[in-house]
Each structure stands twice: as structure tokens, then as C-alpha cells.
């Protein structure tokens, strides 16, 4: 009986192992690329919550981009004609720009490439959790190695432009190599199970069991509101714009695409709490010669017509990450701007 039960439980575990890829995300080891840690190239990365997609990771850890279409003038055997109409964009941002929750053709970079046409490339250099500090260290690589013509920064929250002297405490290298070892050795469902048991799912902190008597006082979370306007915003964004201006030698496009409108507490919220901060940023960006795209009205119009730009059926419509429709609106606006700028540049030549 005991042996039968042990054997049966092993079979049950195997059933879970075989079916888990339908429901459990990937745990993929990372690698060093472009001066930072990215997903490993040539792997399939599954995303299974709030969106559902499998992303093919291309060269340099670029999610979804496996082919480079354009050629540069200095590539061997390339004639000038072949390079004349190609343009290369570097797409920066965080998980919203990375887009692992949508399939590859629906990602911002892919939709932009499709609209720009043959011979153009959009390099998705965004990673989940990235902010200005991460982008700055990679800009030089993008300009020298990838020979990009434009930098496109997808700003979904103004706090992404906060500059810190030292972003995070350096991670314990032993922990990092343990994570890499586990990710490359254990099946995803085993890692996910361990994570669910050992950590709090909401914030990823280590789970602590409580056996002491209640009541337990609930600490209210101090909500750090998004930036307001005023002198503080001026200082904060001045520094960000200054750093971007000094790091990037190619044209900079700031795409402002916050989660507007969104559904929260049973109500649709149409306003943008960061309006004042954005106005300050817009002014500073104009002075620095940056291009600024404001997607808010596009998102609002879409929502009014029933096509919400954020959220998924397996998450919540109107909240969360950009979906295919949201990405398409961003791709359309970026394409229009780039085409206009490139046209102007060619016209002046």
C-alpha cells in the first residue's frame, strides 16, 4: 500500500510537471549583456499571469527580437542604397516596454517595426524594473554597438526618472549564482512552489510564520504619491533631463504613457495625478530639444470606445500592463514622429 501510494504520488507529480508550462512562468538564468543582466538569449520565456505569452529571447537578451533587419553603412559589402531608408530605434523603459505579457508580434517594438516598414529596427532594451539609472549605463552601448538613430524612452510613471547615487545594495554574489544554478537545474514548477512557500507573493519578501497571539497591528502603507509640480519636481526632472542630454548623442523621444484611464475601487479614474509633474518635465524636455509624445488622450479615447489599453482578461481590464491595443497606439505615435523627423532630416540634406 505504501509503495503504491509513493508511486502514485510520483505519477501525480509528473502530471503536474507536464502540465505546469501551461500555467507556470519560466525561470530562466540571466546573462551579462550590454553592461547589465538580461534574460539569456535563445530561450523561450513564458509569462503566465496578467497576460499570457511566450517570448523568444533574441541576441543581447532582447525579448522578442530575434532578427535584425537593417544594415549599417559601415557593414562590409553594403552599398549606400541599402542603408538609405533604414532607421534604428532603441526602446527603453520598464516591464511595460519589455512587454513579456503579450506575444512577440504584439510587443511595442514589433508593432513599431511593422509600421516603420522593411529595413527598420526597434531594439527592445527595456527590462522589468528598469529606470533612468539603468538606461544611462547602456546608452553608449546602444549608440556605438547597435548604431541606433533614436532613443525612445517609454515613461509610464515619473518616478522612473528619479536619479539615485547608488540604486540598490549590491547583491550577494553567492545568492546570485545560487539563483542561476537553481534556474538552470530545477524545473519551473519546483522553483515556483518553493517561492510560493518561502516568500510572500505580494512583495517577494521572505515569509515569516507567526505563532504569537493576536491582535496584530496593521501598519498603514505610506503612499508616496507620484510627483507633483513645483520646485522639487523642477530639480528632480532637471537632473534627469541633463543626464539624458549629456549621455545621448542621438535624438531623444520621451513617450509619456501612464496608466490613464484606469479602474480602481470600482471606479474609472480618467485624470492623471502626475499632471503637474508632467508639465514640468515637458517644459524641461522641450528646452533640451527632446521630442515628447503624450499618449493620455489616445488612451482615454480608446477606453471611451470600449478598447481599454491596459489589462487583460486574466488580470483586470483597465488596470495593469499595456495590452496589444495599448502597444499599438504607442507604436503608431512613435512611427508618425520618427517618420516626420526622418523626413525633415532628409528634406534638409
Amino acid at each position: 500500500m505504501v509503495l503504491r501510494w509513493l508511486f502514485g504520488m510520483l505519477i501525480g507529480t509528473a502530471v503536474i510537471g507536464v502540465t505546469s508550462p501551461l500555467f507556470v512562468r519560466s525561470y530562466v538564468p540571466s546573462q551579462q549583456n550590454r553592461g547589465t543582466e538580461t534574460l539569456r538569449s535563445n530561450v523561450n520565456y513564458r509569462w503566465r499571469s496578467e497576460g499570457y505569452a511566450t517570448t523568444r529571447v533574441g541576441p543581447m537578451g532582447m525579448p522578442g527580437k530575434t532578427v535584425i533587419h537593417s544594415v549599417r553603412a559601415n557593414a562590409p559589402g553594403v552599398s549606400r542604397d541599402e542603408t538609405e531608408y533604414s532607421v534604428r530605434l532603441a526602446l527603453w523603459g520598464d516591464s511595460q516596454a519589455e512587454g513579456v505579457c503579450v506575444e512577440d508580434p504584439s510587443k511595442i517594438f514589433a508593432q513599431t517595426e511593422a509600421l516603420l516598414g522593411r529595413g527598420c529596427d526597434v531594439f527592445p532594451l527595456a527590462r522589468s524594473g528598469d529606470d533612468l539609472n539603468d538606461w544611462l549605463v547602456q546608452i553608449k552601448f546602444a549608440e556605438q554597438s547597435l548604431q541606433v538613430d533614436f532613443h525612445v524612452f517609454l515613461i509610464t510613471q515619473l518616478s522612473d526618472l528619479a536619479v539615485s547615487v547608488r540604486k540598490n545594495a549590491p547583491e550577494d554574489p553567492r545568492k546570485g549564482s545560487l539563483n542561476e544554478y537553481l534556474a538552470s537545474t530545477l524545473p519551473a514548477f519546483a522553483i515556483e512552489s518553493a517561492r510560493n512557500l518561502l516568500t510572500n507573493q505580494r512583495d517577494g519578501t521572505r515569509r515569516k510564520l507567526r505563532f504569537q497571539l493576536g491582535p496584530v497591528s496593521k501598519r498603514s502603507q505610506d503612499f508616496v504619491g507620484e510627483s507633483s509640480g513645483g520646485a522639487a519636481a523642477n530639480t528632480r526632472f532637471s537632473r534627469a533631463v541633463e543626464l539624458l542630454d549629456s549621455s545621448a548623442t542621438k535624438p531623444v523621444v520621451l513617450v509619456y504613457a501612464p496608466m490613464v484611464p484606469h479602474i480602481s475601487g470600482g471606479k474609472a479614474k480618467w485624470g492623471d495625478s502626475s499632471q503637474a509633474g508632467f508639465e514640468v518635465l515637458h517644459g524641461l524636455a522641450d528646452e533640451a530639444g527632446f521630442y515628447v509624445l503624450d499618449l493620455r488622450e489616445d488612451f482615454r479615447d480608446a477606453a471611451r470606445s470600449g478598447s481599454w489599453c491596459h489589462g487583460f482578461h486574466n488580470g483586470q481590464i483597465g488596470s495593469g500592463h499595456l495590452n496589444h491595443h495599448g502597444n499599438s497606439l504607442i507604436a503608431k505615435r512613435v512611427t508618425e514622429l520618427v517618420a516626420k523627423v526622418v523626413g525633415e532630416m532628409r528634406g534638409t540634406k
Binding site: 501510494w5 512552489s193 507567526r210 497571539l213 479602474i263
Partner: protein, 476 residues
């Protein structure tokens, strides 16, 4: 402490080990009593005093009741128990309800009124009803008072059923507590499987359904009529799986400790009439209201008019028991009204004396057109009434009804996991009507049992929704 927290299995295993290590009944009961108070104090130690007070009052009242000879004396003693228990319930659960309801009246008289800052003690509705049933049964001479205080204290506070039932009668549990149970491998295994089933129902089904329900009920006018309908069906699933899941864990835990609890649910969404629904839903509460409210009012022994009155009063009180809001009272009223209206249709007693006990031979499982129509009508009434049960007020309920009945415009949201959970609900109920239902208990010797057990355990670890969601019936 909540059954679906990680701390509970650790606590339970510890208690299990201690309890089965001792043969002495008294020691066993002391261990379980202390464990039960620890279980309750895990939420808030301050309210253990309330639980102890209720226990003390009814223990001594019952002993005096047994010895008292005169009817006046006995009635007086019973009144002490009623006042003490219902008084606690009235203050903690209903004080603000009455203050808020009377606020307008107070304001008209130029008097101010302010809500009180009262914490609702977890489980108070359940344990006060449980102790009340004991003193009333002693008063009616249906049960003798218990001798050992620890036995009675354990009966009141026994942790598997303390905070959300089932409401166990003294005649069912006290005789079991009076002796040390024999260990039975079959019952121990059955208890484990029932606990596992309960956890799956709560975590994988109820909580998934709740994710959609919470969002839609927060703002029903944002969503299309189809989505609101799906959310209402999802709520029906959520409340059923949440509560029956809790009950399964409670009954399973008791089994593993060697005790037997009565069933509390019998697939209520298979009911073909509202009368049948109340023979299948929260059966221990139904029988409590039958025995201590409906029958004392006269039950169905009098004229049809009086029977209708008794039904309505019973269901209004049942509604009020569920929560201190007018939406719950209205929910109870709707059920009462439909029960009254359906009186001439059903030839069986409206609230059977054999709630939960079914003459299986007499039941035909064939689905006739009449049964199907009866089922459809019952489900429509139950679903529409659930809207009131879930909504945070009449305004929200009206908005839900508007979207549902007038095919409102809005976002059509089709969450796949919630829909899959509803699919599981339909499948589970369909299987229950067949002989396959035996397989659902996963008998120890059957080949598929270990496979299914492993799959359920892994699913609980892998696929539990993020965040902790309390049991719905904790709020009652």
C-alpha cells in the same frame, strides 16, 4: 488562525500528535480546550474572555436548570442564558445597525447619534447559537447537563467548528467528548482527504472566483450585463465553495481527531425548489432555526396564514443573523416570500424534520422536464437574491440588477480562471448526480487516489491566488 494559513497545518499536526499520544479522556480534552483557546487567541486574545464568559454562564445555568423544579424558576434561568448570549450578539453585532437605522429618527428629534467603535468578535454568531442550543435543550429536558466543565468548555470552543460552524448539537458532540475515541485508520484517512478537498475548494475555486466578484461588485455599472451575470454566478460559486470548503476542513479535522460532525452542505445548487435548497444549504443553521424559531412559533401545524407568518419571521431572522445590514434582511425576506408562495406547490413539509437525512431510495435521480424547470426557477431566485447578499448596499444591488436585466453596456470581461472554476462547479455538481461521486472521496485502496492527492497538493502550492483572502462566513 485561519485554516488556509501555513501556520495551521503546523499547529494541527502538533495538536494531533499530542492528542493521540494520550489515552486519558480528561487530559485529551484539556489539551484540545487549550489548543482551541490558542486558536481563537491567535486572532485576538482579548476576546477569549467573551468566549469564556458565554461558556461559564451556560454551564452554570444548565446545571441549575436541571435541578430547578418550578416552571417560573426554570424560565427565569433560561432567560438569563438568552439575555447573556443574545445580549452579547446584540451589542457586538447589531448595535451600530440599530443606531444607523434609527439615526434619521434621532435627527428629527434633535438628538445626535454616533456609531460605536465595536470590533465584531470572530465566530460570535456561531458559538452563541451553539451554547444557546445546549441550554434550550436542557430546558426542554432533551439532554442532561454535562458534569465536567472542561467537556462543556471544549464543546463550545472546539477549534475545528468554533468560528464558522457547523453548529453542532450537544447530543451530537458531548457524548463523543465524554470518552477517548478509538483510532481508525479509515476515518483518519477520510478526514485528511476531506481537509484536502476543503482547502482546494477554498483556495483554488472560491478565492479565484472572488477575484472577479470583488472587482465587478465594486463598480457593476462599468461592466456589461454579460459580465455582471457571470460575476453573480461566480459569487454563487464563491460563497458555496468558501463555506463548504471551510466546513470540509472543519469536519475533516474533527475526523482526524476522532470526532464526527454533522454534514452542512449537500450540493445545494442541485435543488429543484427553494424548500429543497434549504435542506441542502448550511443545514446545521437551517435546523437550528427550525428547532428554535420556526417550531416554537408554531411551525406548519397551524393554518396556512400562520405557517406563512412563521416562515417569513424565521427567514427574516435568518437574514439578520447573516449580517447587520438591511440587504441581508431583504435577502431573508425574499427567500421567505418564495417559500410562502411555493407552499401549495410542494406536498412535503416546508422545513423537514429530517433536514440532511434523505430517503435515498425514494429519490429518483431522473431529470424530468418538471424538475429541470424547478431547478431553473430555484437557481434564478437564489442568484438574484445573492446579489443582495454580496452587494455593500441597496444602491450597488440596484446597479447590478440594472446591468443584468437591461443588458447594460460596459466592459465585457471574461476571466479564464474564474470561468474555469465555474466549469469545475458545474462538472462537480453533474458528477454528484451519478455513481461516480463515490470516486470523489478518493478511497485509500483505489489506484487513482494517490495520483489525485499529489495533483491537489501541488495545485494548492502552485496555483493559489496571490494574497490572503479570509473566509466569507467569518464576517457573520
Amino acid at each position: 488562525m485561519v485554516f488556509t494559513q501555513l501556520e495551521f497545518p503546523i499547529f494541527f499536526l502538533f495538536v494531533l500528535g499530542l492528542v493521540w499520544a494520550t489515552k486519558c479522556t480528561k487530559t485529551r480534552n484539556y489539551v484540545l480546550w487549550l489548543a482551541s483557546y490558542y486558536f481563537y487567541a491567535y486572532w485576538d486574545y482579548r476576546f477569549c474572555g467573551l468566549l469564556f464568559f458565554s461558556t461559564l454562564v451556560d454551564y452554570f445555568v444548565a446545571r441549575q436548570l436541571f435541578q430547578a423544579a418550578s416552571a417560573i424558576h426554570r424560565r427565569g434561568l433560561l432567560s438569563v442564558s438568552l439575555v447573556a448570549n443574545l445580549g452579547l450578539l446584540a451589542y457586538f453585532k447589531y448595535a451600530n445597525f440599530f443606531i444607523d437605522s434609527a439615526r434619521e429618527l434621532f435627527q428629527q428629534q434633535g438628538l445626535g447619534s454616533q456609531s460605536l467603535d465595536i470590533i465584531l468578535p470572530v465566530g460570535i454568531s456561531f458559538y452563541t447559537f451553539q451554547t444557546l442550543s445546549y441550554t434550550i435543550d436542557v430546558y426542554r429536558r432533551r439532554v442532561d447537563p454535562v458534569d465536567r466543565f472542561v467537556d462543556f468548555a471544549l464543546y463550545v470552543s472546539f477549534f475545528p467548528q468554533l468560528v464558522a460552524g457547523p453548529i453542532v448539537r450537544a447530543t451530537e458532540l458531548l457524548p463523543q467528548l465524554a470518552k477517548t475515541p478509538e483510532f481508525s485508520r479509515r476515518r483518519f484517512y477520510g478526514g485528511f482527504q476531506q481537509m484536502l478537498r476543503g482547502a482546494v475548494k477554498k483556495v483554488l475555486l472560491a478565492d479565484r472566483l472572488g477575484e472577479m466578484v470583488d472587482v465587478v461588485f465594486a463598480g457593476p455599472d462599468l461592466y456589461s450585463g454579460v459580465t455582471v451575470w457571470i460575476a453573480v454566478v461566480a459569487y454563487a460559486g464563491q460563497i458555496y465553495y468558501d463555506f463548504s470548503g471551510y466546513t470540509d476542513i472543519a469536519i475533516g479535522a474533527a475526523k482526524m481527531l476522532g470526532y464526527r460532525f454533522p454534514a452542512n452542505f449537500r450540493h445545494p445548487y442541485l435543488a429543484t425548489s427553494l424548500t429543497d435548497f434549504w435542506r441542502r444549504w448550511h443545514m446545521t443553521l437551517s435546523r437550528w432555526f427550525r428547532d428554535y424559531v420556526y417550531i416554537p412559533l408554531g411551525g406548519s401545524r397551524a393554518t396556512r396564514l400562520l405557517t406563512s407568518r412563521n416562515l417569513l419571521i424565521t427567514m427574516l431572522v435568518a437574514g439578520l443573523w447573516h449580517g447587520a445590514q438591511w440587504t441581508f434582511v431583504t435577502w431573508g425576506f425574499i427567500h421567505g416570500l418564495v417559500l410562502v408562495i411555493s407552499q401549495p406547490v410542494s406536498s412535503k413539509p416546508l422545513i423537514s424534520n429530517s433536514v440532511g437525512r434523505v430517503n435515498r431510495q425514494a429519490i429518483s435521480h431522473r431529470l424530468t422536464p418538471r424538475k429541470f424547470l424547478g431547478w431553473l426557477g430555484t437557481m434564478l431566485v437564489v442568484l438574484m437574491a445573492w446579489v443582495l447578499f454580496r452587494a455593500d448596499g441597496f444602491a450597488t444591488a440596484v446597479r447590478c440588477y440594472q446591468q443584468m436585466l437591461f443588458a447594460g453596456d460596459g466592459i465585457t470581461w471574461l476571466p479564464p480562471l474564474a470561468i474555469a472554476a465555474m466549469g469545475m462547479m458545474f462538472l462537480e455538481h453533474a458528477i454528484w448526480r451519478t455513481k461516480l461521486r463515490r470516486c470523489m472521496r478518493l478511497p485509500m485502496r483505489d489506484w487513482y487516489s494517490p495520483i489525485a492527492t499529489a495533483v491537489m497538493i501541488w495545485c494548492l502550492i502552485l496555483y493559489a491566488p496571490q494574497g490572503f483572502r479570509p473566509f466569507v462566513y467569518f464576517q457573520f
